[in-house]
Each structure stands twice: as structure tokens, then as C-alpha cells.
Symmetry: C2
Subunit: 309 residues, 2 copies
């Protein structure tokens, strides 16, 4: 079965000291650590385009997996809502060219935000199965530094730039299990770009996540015939330290520590946050079963079980 | 198997008399008919957003298929590069809300241009199979009137606004067969938006299509173990009358009439052109096997066989 064979990432080394930024808005280090969750926010260079972040992540993936011939990639999906160009062409086409991939690759962008990796996994696996393809590259790259107003205290302390690349193929250790998805466009206004600037109604988004995500995870477990105890770790979108903690507490009071929290050096990296967690914590673990969940722009959410035999 | 159960469309009744527009650029009716291929270009109203076109097409689909409960839709993909908002949120979330679909729907946009319907078919079928979903809505809506400069003679005579909605599900008459895809981002500059305005290098795009599409169709047939004589009709992207004619001649000199040409009242409707042809010419036909091909922005192309038993 087609599953996750490898994950790599690119996190810019340059960025903002978020404690310094917090101080500017009157926030102390305890708040920045405990509520925001990020002491550092990586920032792409001004001359780096979204496709360049994709290319860096893909090159890291190729370097880690010498058995993967880049010319064998036959499908490339880029999950982004901040691509290189103004709508067209799609960023995936630019990445195909910059990586020197075969022109026989099926390449397209999926427009989703923080829920995007969960959807992207099923989109690329499904596309590969439906079209008879063998090696997929699922890339996430949504550099919010392009759209966040550095004077907006509701957003500028939260988001970091990053990209990830996931190799999907046969004989993978990690398989995709049951999944559940959801969309509520009536909340679209809570997370949107207007006149080039990102706006977030933080309270509404926090409440949405706190109500929706624990219930969605419970529903997913029930549909999978699993108990919470069967899950070794919950790798959910790292929106902020406060939201991860609140979802963990609401979901299950006994073992909130199973909700992985690791965003101190990255911040909220949108659709890259879940694959960053999986790369760092799942791939080399002894875990057997992991629940993932992404939630955000749309509003949109998706949760899934990853497992190995 | 999941296949195409129904296709509906929305074509605005208002629009431009393209003969009048042609005269403005010194083009006579013979040229507009024979080379451009459109005497009329439908135009959405200024207050209509992309999501509104999607909603109209979906409502037409629901009206034609009373057995389809809109609440049973569990996945919605919008193929567009001219969505409602500036990158985020995705248009599919807005359509979910405007149509009053269940919040249990998986909704996302696929960013592709004229090749988008071919990719979209395999993306939605694959996603449904990978995630265990039952009723999919594949919508195309890419209103180029948002980005075309009415003074640009290379583009303003070509594009019409339209939207289509395809119901994907089990027990479908039309099934998806073999497919082939391709991407060449080195040609991205030939079709792109800069500062809000669409630019096309018509000569480069024409040459690309003329070289690529006939060869791609031959490759698809070979991979499918089919001869040209096994195909009842070729429904390829209606870029212009000239490109459809040129591809048809180059592909097979004996029966160029099997290349359906029907764009006189619509113009080039981007990702809607192939489903418009299928709706009008395939669904009620006695055809057994149809080849489809889309090509354009990216550069990107995709070709597939649709068949029924």
C-alpha cells in the first residue's frame, strides 16, 4: 500500500527573536513560552520565493533517501495558499522546473491552510492509486511572512516560515488509516487575506479549535474502533501552545502529554506543522499508531490515523 | 467503481458580441469564426464571485439529479486559479457555506488552469477511494474576465466565463480509464498573471499545444492498448478553433471530425471547456470510449480515456 516513506523539511535559520518581539507588545517571556509557544520565528529571506522553500525541503528529502531517484517522481503536490505567483501558474509547476523533475510529472497545488497536510496525504495517495503512479512528493510551504503585518499583535507573534517534503510510495513503513474531514465556510471571515494582509480573529479560531478538534478526534477513534489508549501520540497542528494544551486537556485529562508540543523554534508553520512533528517525533519512534489533526483557514479540519504493522 | 454520474454547467447569458470586439481589433467574422472560434463570450456580472458561478453550476446539477441529496456530498473540489479571495480562504469552503452543504464535507481547491478537469477527475476519485467517501462534487470555475485586459488583443477575444459541476460516485455509467499527465514549469512565463493582469504568449502556447497534445494522445492510446479507431470522440480543451483544428489534423489526418469543436457561444472557458463538451456531447451519446485532454497554464497537460461498458 502507498504510505509515508520519508519526511524532510526546510526551516530557515534566520528569523525573529520572539521574546524581543513579545516585549514590543508588552508580553513577557512566560506568556511567549506558555501561551504563544515560540521563542523564535524562522523567516525566509526576502528573495526566497515559496517555490524556493519547496525546493530546499525536497532536496533535503532526496539527500536523506539516495535510493529515491528524483526522475522517478511522477506526482508532485504543493499545499499552499501563498504561492509564488498571483494565482497562476501554480507553484508546483515552478517547483518541477527548479528541481529538474521529469516533465512526465503530474503537478498541482492544493489550496488549504493549517488542515492541508492531512488532506494532502489522502489527495496524493488517492491520485497515485487512481492514476497508477508510483512515487509522490507532497510538499507543504505556506510562508505567512508574506502576508502577516508585523504590527498586528494578533498574528505576528505566531507564524514561522517552513517547508516540508514527504515521499509517498509503496512498501512504506507508515500507512494511512481512517480519516475524517470537515469544512465550515460560514467561518471563512475569521481567517482571511484582505488587500494583501492576513487577518485572524484569534478568539473565534481558538473557540472553533477547542470545540471541534477534540470531538473530531473522538469521532475518528470511534470510527476506527480504537480507544484513546491505543494511540501512542497525537500530532496536531501547532497553532499555539495555548491551543495545543487546551485541546489536549479537553480531549483526555489523563494523558495530555501524549499531545506532542514542539513549536518553540518554529512557531505556527501552517500546513508544515504536522509533518514537522512527524519527521522529528514519529519516523524514528517505536510508536505503532499516531493520530494527526489539522485545523484552520476555511474553516477546515481533518484528522487521521497513521499506523505501522 | 467511482465514475462520472452527471455533469451540469452554468454559462452566464450576458456577455460580449465577439464579432463586434473582433472588429475593434481589425478582425473580420471569418477570422473570429475560423481561428478564434467564438462569436460570443459569456461574462459574469460584476457582483458575481467565482463561488457564485460554482453555486449556480452545482444547483443545476442538483436540479437535474433529484436522487442526489446535497447533504450526501462528502467531498467538494473546486478547480480554479481565480478564486474569491486573495489566496485564502479557499473558494471550496465558501461554496460549502453558500450551498448549505454538510460541515462533514472535505473541501479544497485544486490550482490548475486548462488542464484542471482531467487532473480533477483523478484527484477526486482518488481522494474518495483513499478516504472512503461516497459522493463527490468536482467543480470548475475560472472566470478569466477577472484578469483579462480588454485592450489586450492576445487574450480578450478568447476567454469566456463558465462553471461546471460533476457528480462523482458509485454505479456511474462513465468510468475513468488510463491517464497520463505532464508538467513543464520552464514554460510558466508564457501564461501568467502579473500585477493582476493575465499575460499569454499566444505563439508559444500554440506551439506547445501543437507539439505536445497529439503526441500525448498517441502515448495514452498506446498505454491503453487502443487504436485511434477505438475512440469515438476526442474532447480536448477548446483553447481556440485554430488550436483544436491544428491538433486534430496533426493527430490523425483521416478523421479530424472526431475532435469535437464546440466553443462558438462560450469561447475558451479554461478548466470548464472539457466538462462542457462532455455534458453536451458525451452524456447522452451512444459513444463507448472518449479521449479527453487539457493543456495550458503551468505549462501543464493531462489526457485520459473515459469509457462505459
Amino acid at each position: 500500500m502507498i504510505g509515508i516513506k520519508s519526511i524532510a523539511s526546510y526551516v530557515p535559520t534566520a528569523g525573529l527573536d520572539n521574546y524581543v518581539q513579545g516585549a514590543k507588545f508588552g508580553k513577557d517571556e512566560a506568556f511567549m513560552f506558555g501561551k504563544i509557544g515560540a521563542s523564535f520565528l524562522p523567516r525566509k529571506a526576502a528573495e526566497q520565493e515559496t517555490s524556493d522553500l519547496c525546493v530546499e525541503a525536497a532536496r533535503a528529502l532526496f539527500a536523506n533517501n539516495p535510493e529515491l531517484d528524483p526522475q522517478a517522481i511522477d506526482v508532485l503536490i504543493v499545499v499552499t495558499q501563498n504561492g509564488d505567483e498571483e494565482g497562476l501558474p501554480h507553484t508546483a509547476a515552478i517547483v518541477q522546473d527548479k528541481l529538474g523533475l521529469s516533465t512526465r510529472v503530474a503537478a498541482f497545488d492544493v489550496s488549504l491552510g493549517c488542515s492541508g497536510y492531512v488532506y494532502g496525504l489522502y489527495a496524493i495517495k488517492g491520485f497515485m492509486q487512481a492514476a497508477g503512479l508510483k512515487n509522490g512528493l507532497l510538499i507543504t510551504a505556506d510562508p505567512y511572512s508574506k502576508i502577516v503585518d508585523p504590527e498586528d499583535r494578533n498574528t505576528t507573534m505566531l507564524f514561522g516560515d517552513a517547508a516540508t517534503a514527504t515521499w509517498m510510495g509503496e512498501n512504506a513503513v507508515w500507512q494511512l488509516g481512517e480519516a475524517r474531514f470537515g469544512t465550515d465556510g460560514s467561518g471563512a471571515e475569521h481567517l482571511k487575506v484582505s488587500d494583501g494582509t492576513f487577518f485572524m480573529n484569534g478568539r473565534q479560531v481558538f473557540n472553533f479549535a477547542l470545540v471541534k478538534v477534540p470531538a473530531h478526534l473522538h469521532e475518528l477513534l470511534e470510527a476506527s474502533g480504537l480507544q484513546s489508549a491505543d494511540i501512542d501520540a497525537f500530532c496536531i497542528h501547532q497553532g499555539s501552545a495555548a491551543i495545543v494544551d487546551a485541546v489536549a486537556r479537553r480531549f483526555e485529562e489523563q494523558h495530555p502529554e501524549k499531545f506532542v508540543k514542539d513549536m518553540l523554534e518554529t512557531g505556527n508553520t501552517v500546513s508544515s506543522s504536522v509533518p514537522l512533528l512527524l519527521q522529528k517525533h514519529m519516523l524514528d519512534s517505536s510508536w505503532k499508531r499516531v493520530a494527526i489533526s489539522g485545523f484552520g483557514v476555511g474553516l477546515s479540519w481533518g484528522s487521521a490515523i497513521l499506523y505501522r504493522d
